[in-house]
């Protein structure tokens, strides 16, 4: 068959994904003087970052001068149960404050301290009030700031454009191939470097805070291009998602509610978190209500409330309370700020939570408690990258934000995501630009691949018979929710793998009515391929790690095992087969190790 001519764009750097990490990467690459294309699945400014609520963690020291990058680094590593890539955690803690100040210079208006500096709020696992924020809509402020700064930097933006595959020339990534969602027509990007900033994989679970976009596209494309993924077993279930009514189940309730004084209660009115303080955090956590309540105002003489333990701890505690029959009427627990803070304080600090509960659940959070329960929120695992340069294990490929792995170890602290996006988004842009400048030889892609990708892409529209992709997606979500959820075991996960095999086969035969013009059924059928691939990686890695740690809890291996504390589980594709390996954790230098010996 004669090769078709596809619409082609050539750039030094292509960034895939336009949330916080992608936008920041594109801005940085443009600042380095190279030509940049930014490709995103939705309209610009609609990416998942927009939904982030609580804030950006950065040791600015505006509220607590005692705070500094070492304390932030220590909190991050402990929150990740020491499985983080120490160098990423260090760079993150060191560079986050400057990234926040930079956002302010680009127009972001954070809430203020009395002396006119950026106000910081308390969040789980952070020793000091550390999150720069705008009420409970920090992500919106961040994406809008980056978006409006970005559009003046000479970046070409390709909106509602879905990338299907990365393209290589020999061993290096040199482009990407996808389609315009509006028209269904194909588009080819040639680039000297590609940055993945595609976010997470949360759409593989049924109860999730993630939108339709979170289908692991970047994770899967990196895998198919030969790159390693690490830590895929670690999936964060945010402790507080809405549970009622059913149609809003999973929508996020910010940790800021607890940061600002809210507390979790069971159906007897007990503040049950005091019963779930793990040994690891005993030294820094209040064991009685009086001390916990004093802590909000006096952090020097009191220990932190257990309501603000890291998310994995709180999610498991809620899960246990509900299982023990002490849950709320709709299968969650109560989150009460109404009896603890004045109404006008609540509406000022948490305006969008107030609005969300009022509009969607008929609950006035200044008068009644909320009902909350765990919701799939974030994947710690992702593309294995070099800490300083964000380069993947394949040349020319970079990754930042949620689709990159290592930074958060086995569990991410709240607020560390937005800062991660900025710190590593910038680094990805910087080093991708450098890579492009050093690029030797001609920029070519293997054209032979294109025709077969194009045919595969069109297959759901051209098949005579086949299943509805929405039905397959819903079954996948059930499988992951029920068998690879908050609490896992070998039997369930082996069953899950078998079911995933069947679903992969069914997905490869899905059929969609209608044409190529803005056809969400078709898009769902295509996204299902990457979603199934990442679900399989996550399950395989979870089966491999025979212990419980952070966002990976097994009732057949309920304890944390030190021998597993020295390795990451990596997944890679070789000759069409997924391979699992244990990779030794990079060793932390002595001066950083010393930070953990202090109390």
């Amino acid at each position: 068959m004669a090769r078709q001519a596809y619409e082609t764009h050539e750039h030094d750097v292509i960034v895939i994904g336009a949330g916080g990490a992608g936008l920041r990467a594109a801005i940085e690459a443009a600042a380095q003087g190279v030509s940049v294309g930014l490709v995103c699945k939705s309209l610009l400014g609609k990416a998942h970052t927009v939904m982030a609520e609580g804030g950006i963690a950065a040791a600015l020291g505006n509220v607590w001068p005692e705070d500094n990058w070492q304390v932030h680094f220590r909190d991050t590593m402990r929150g990740g149960k020491m499985l983080n890539n120490w160098r990423m955690a260090q760079l993150h803690a060191q560079e986050a404050p400057e990234r926040v100040l930079e956002l302010e210079r680009w127009g972001a208006l954070f809430d203020r301290t009395k002396d006119g500096r950026i106000l910081q709020r308390d969040f789980g696992g952070h020793r000091y009030a550390r999150l720069a924020h705008v009420g409970d809509r920090t992500g919106l402020e961040m994406i809008r700031t980056l978006q409006y700064h970005g559009i003046h930097q000479g970046i070409d933006v390709y909106m509602e454009c879905k990338v299907e595959r990365l393209l290589k020339d020999g061993d290096r990534v040199t482009g990407a191939f996808g389609y315009w969602r509006n028209t269904g027509q194909f588009v080819l990007f040639k680039a000297k470097a590609v940055v993945l900033a595609t976010g997470g994989i949360g759409k593989a679970w049924k109860i999730t805070s993630n939108s339709w976009e979170y289908t692991g596209d970047g994770h899967a494309m990196a895998l198919w291009a030969g790159a390693d993924l690490i830590d895929m077993e670690f999936v964060q279930f945010h402790p507080t998602g809405m549970v009622w009514p059913p149609s809003v189940r999973g929508i996020l309730v910010t940790e800021g509610v607890r940061g600002d004084g809210g507390t979790l209660k069971n159906n007897t009115g007990e503040r049950f978190m005091f019963n779930y303080i793990p040994e690891f955090f005993k030294g820094e956590t209040a064991d009685n209500e009086a001390e916990a309540d004093r802590w909000y105002a006096d952090k020097k003489n009191n220990r932190r409330t257990p309501d603000l333990l890291p998310r994995d701890e709180v999610a498991r505690a809620i899960n246990s309370e509900v299982k023990a029959g002490r849950g709320s009427p709709h299968g969650g627990v109560f989150l009460d700020i109404a009896t603890r803070r004045p109404g006008d304080y609540i509406t000022k600090r948490l305006p969008s939570m107030y609005h969300q509960f009022k509009e969607l659940a008929d609950v006035d959070i200044t008068k009644e408690p909320m009902e909350v329960g765990p919701t799939c929120h974030y994947v710690m695992g992702g593309v294995r990258v070099d800490a300083d340069t964000t380069q993947a294990t394949v040349k020319g490929l970079f990754a930042a934000g949620e689709c990159a792995g290592g930074m958060h170890g086995s569990n991410r602290l709240g607020g560390n995501s937005l800062s991660d996006l900025l710190v590593f988004g910038r680094r990805a842009g910087q080093y991708a630009a450098l890579h492009a400048k050093d690029f030797g030889g001609r920029l070519t892609v293997d054209n032979a691949q294109l025709e077969s990708i194009a045919q595969e892409t069109l297959a759901p529209l051209t098949r005579a018979h086949g299943e509805n992709p929405y039905a397959i997606q819903a079954e996948l979500q059930d499988v992951m929710q029920n068998l690879v959820g908050i609490i896992r075991n070998e039997t369930d996960m082996k069953t899950a793998l078998k079911k995933l095999e069947v679903l992969k086969d069914r997905a490869s035969k899905a059929r969609v009515d209608g044409g190529r013009t803005y056809n969400p059924g078709w898009h769902t059928a295509l996204d299902l391929v990457s979603l199934l691939a990442v679900a399989e990686c996550s399950t395989l890695a979870a089966l491999e790690r025979k212990e419980s740690r952070g966002g990976h809890t097994r009732d057949d291996h309920p304890y944390t095992d030190d021998t597993w504390g020295t390795v990451n589980v990596a997944v890679r594709l070789r000759s069409g087969q997924l391979q699992i390996s244990r990779e030794p954790l990079p060793q932390m230098p002595a001066e950083l190790k010393a930070l953990f010996e202090r109390k």
Binding site: V50, M51, G116, R144, N182, S352, V512
Partner: protein, 251 residues
């Protein structure tokens, strides 16, 4: 479970028509849930935009029973059981397909707004701003860019010939936010008059009425801006400025 008839627009730039779908709606469901149910069970290719499903991203704008709204924030219990509910794309922008429109006009207008240019920082390299000085700008920053205000604006809706020199309410509050920024040094008045076309706005407040974030677009954004513009053309102010000099530099 109550059953509703959803009368959904199906079609593209070449034309189209409303099609009826009978759908069950459970407690708490919003219009977007029902649209998703139609996609999953009856019309797999029904086109609509959505992302957050919590009123934060502004993707799922539509005209529901003729009213511009976010589908994700419109509860089904607003309508009596058995009702026929029409869902149409926002009317002002060119249709792509079904409920999806081409909103690129807004992205073009966004690029034209002269960006922030800051004063020099404090000696420590950072800036000071006080909460009371940014409260009113933070109201504008709540904008989720759903473009419902742009959809109902008479100038954009009915005057194709003015679109070239008119930005619309979304961008009036964007500009107002920049102008009121305590650290900004840019004078955007000429831009506001000539390119953003604020003079065409006749303050009918339709934009404020449909804003899902309840931003006082007209009262807090457009009217103060019109007043500043009037200032600009005041010969006395012009004379004073001659002697005292501009506070802000032209864009």
């Amino acid at each position: 479970m109550p059953i509703f008839t959803m009368r959904v627009f199906r079609g593209d730039a070449r034309g189209g028509e409303f099609k009826d779908y009978n759908v069950e709606a459970e407690e708490g469901m919003v219009v977007l849930d029902v649209i998703h149910r139609i996609q999953a069970t009856q019309a797999v290719d029904l086109a609509c935009r959505w992302n957050c499903k919590a009123g934060k991203c502004g993707s799922c704008s539509a005209e529901i029973n003729g009213k511009p709204r976010l589908m994700c924030m419109t509860r089904m219990n607003l309508f009596p059981e058995g009702d026929i509910i029409s869902v149409a794309p926002i009317r002002t922008f060119p249709l792509v397909r079904d409920l999806v429109t081409d909103v690129s006009y807004n992205y073009e207008k966004a690029k034209q707004v002269p960006p922030l240019r800051l004063k020099p920082p404090e000696p420590d390299g950072t800036y000071r701003m006080f909460q009371e000085d940014i409260d009113r700008i933070q109201e504008f920053h709540k904008c989720i860019e759903c473009f419902l205000c742009q959809d109902v604006c008479h100038v954009i809706r009915d005057h194709e010939e003015l679109k070239k020199s008119f930005s619309g309410p979304r961008f009036f509050i964007k500009i107002a936010g920049l102008d009121m920024h305590p650290l900004d040094t840019v004078d955007r008045r000429e831009f506001v008059g000539r390119q953003a076309g604020i003079g065409f706005c006749n303050i009918t407040k339709c934009c404020s009425e449909v804003c899902p974030e309840h931003i006082h677009i007209t009262d807090n954004g457009i009217i103060p801006m019109k007043e500043r513009m009037a200032d600009n053309y005041d010969p006395l102010v012009w004379l004073l400025r001659k002697f005292r000099g501009h506070k802000k530099q032209p864009a």
